[in-house]
Each structure stands twice: as C-alpha cells, then as structure tokens.
Symmetry: C2
Subunit: 172 residues, 2 copies
Amino acid sequence: PVIRQVIFFPDKQIACKDFFDSVEGCSRIRCDFSHTTTGFRQLLSHIKSARKSIDIAVYCISCFEIADVVLQRHKVGVRVRVITDQSMEIAFGSQNHRFMKDGIRVHTNKPPFLMHHKFFIIDDELLCSGSFNWTSQAVTGNNESVIITNDPWTVEPFCAEFKKLWQETKPG
Amino acid sequence: PVIRQVIFFPDKQIACKDFFDSVEGCSRIRCDFSHTTTGFRQLLSHIKSARKSIDIAVYCISCFEIADVVLQRHKVGVRVRVITDQSMEIAFGSQNHRFMKDGIRVHTNKPPFLMHHKFFIIDDELLCSGSFNWTSQAVTGNNESVIITNDPWTVEPFCAEFKKLWQETKPG
Ligand SMILES: [Zn+2]
Ligand SMILES: [Zn+2]
C-alpha cells in the first residue's frame, strides 16, 4: 500500500505508555497522558513495523524510548545499522553505547564533517526524513516535521546515500 | 510539471559565481570553483523561480548568498515571510536584520519552543524541506538532505503548518 504521511511536532501531550504498551491498559481515573495517538507514537509504529532492516542516519540520538523500540527490533533479528554525528560518541544521554552493547553496529563520521541527517529507512522501502532528531526535546519542545513515504523516487536516493555514508564512516 | 527531487549535501565544490551569475562568465584559466551545477545552485534556482510568494521556516539563516537571492525576489514584489528560531535575533551572522531592514516580515517563536523546521514553500505549491539550515557550513561541511516536491499531499500540510506558525509567532 502507498504510504504518504507528514508528521509535525511538538506533540501537545505525551502518550500514555500504560494505555498503549501494557496488557492491562491504563488504570488512572484521570490520566494526564494521551490515550489518542501522537506523532511520536506514529513514528514508533513505523520503526516497530520493520521486518528486515532499519537504517538510521540521525545526527543526535538521546531518547531512551525510541532506542528501546530499535533494540527490540534488533533482538528479534531485524538488521539495524546506525550512523550518528561523531559528537554523539561522548554526548550526555547518547544512546550509541546502548546500541553497541547489544551488538548493533554504529558508525560515526570523520571530522570535520557534521553528520546532520535525520532520516531512517525501514525494510529498504519506507523513508522517514525531516528536521527531527531522536531527542525528547524534539517530541514535545520543538517545531519539527517528518515526511514518511514509500514512493521510490524519494526512498531510493536515501538508500544510496545511506550505503555511501556507511562506507565512508567508521565504527565508534 | 511534476517536480520531485532530492538534494544531498555537502557539495564537493563551491559553485563559480562568475560562471553562473555574471554576463562575462568566468575568466580564470584554471578555476577552482565548479562550472557544473551544485546542490546549492539548485536550491537557489528554486528560490529564484518564485513569482508570488516565498514562505520560509528555517531554524538558522546565516548564509549571505541565500539571503541575497531572497532579497532580490522581495525587491521585485514577491511576498516573502520568514520564521526563524528566536535565538537568531542575536546570533552572529544572522540574516534576520538584513531581511527586516528591507521590509521583509520576520517572525520568531516564543520561548521555550525551539523553531527547528528547515523548510520553505514557493508560490504555495513547491516545498523544499529537510535537515538543511541556511548556513555556509551546511553547503560544504555537512551531510544534509532536502526533499523538493510539488506533490499536493506533501505541500499542503506544510502550507497549513506555516500559516499556523505565522499566527503563533511574533515579529522580531
Ligand atoms: Zn493513561
Ligand atoms: Zn570559474
């Protein structure tokens, strides 16, 4: 099926994890979190939909929740490759080490280039790209956009770009 | 005509201004600048193509050359509106004051939100959006992407987003 979606941030509310992720659902009488889908939940859904591969080229990855979902996919055998900016090797909150500890390959760029991309590709066929870094700030604190599509004219150049960058960057 | 394009940066070379922009062309025997089009030149071409309006929502605008092209369009009567992050009001190299000095309306967001978009819309019908801030560093120093399209499913949400942001932000 054709997938063509634009997601804008900030989300007005944080999604309720109990409602969405637990079998019991949410037991709060009055819940301050959202029980309707958010932009963030939609992004997570696309990551969760991966069956074969996730190629991630995102400048800054510090959000635990997105990293959790990626790690889950990796655990069930989805091929995950990550490229971040080299500044992430030492940045506070960086998820690079969590990824590497679990055996996910992570590359960073050689200075002086800034790896400023914010895209990821699911199963070599679905592209999510925009201004959105994988930080909690970006979800609720910033004006951001993500274009999501499986139109080949958009996806294919990004697949080629990721392949090129993967070869040009180094583990770390 | 359908416009569907993806531009990646960094450009390997800086475009030769004499070759592209002067009547006489380039007189160098051996020119270190590019005489074939670059990603940056293609972006400028899209801005120059504006006949009615340019709506710009870009986090950081510090590149003189892109600002020059925008100012030229404004001079010939194209409606230009600019939204940047509030940090641009005082940032070194910010083009906001050049814009305002010439009568272009510039809005910035209210704290604590970060205006992190990097998109612009030509004539309400052509969208350019991605990771690319309007800085010289982004042209030759960073890995960046810009998606360019006049597909309505992509353009229309961004037109609505700009309209909403224009109302929510304030002059300055
Ligand atoms: Zn709840
Ligand atoms: Zn030349």
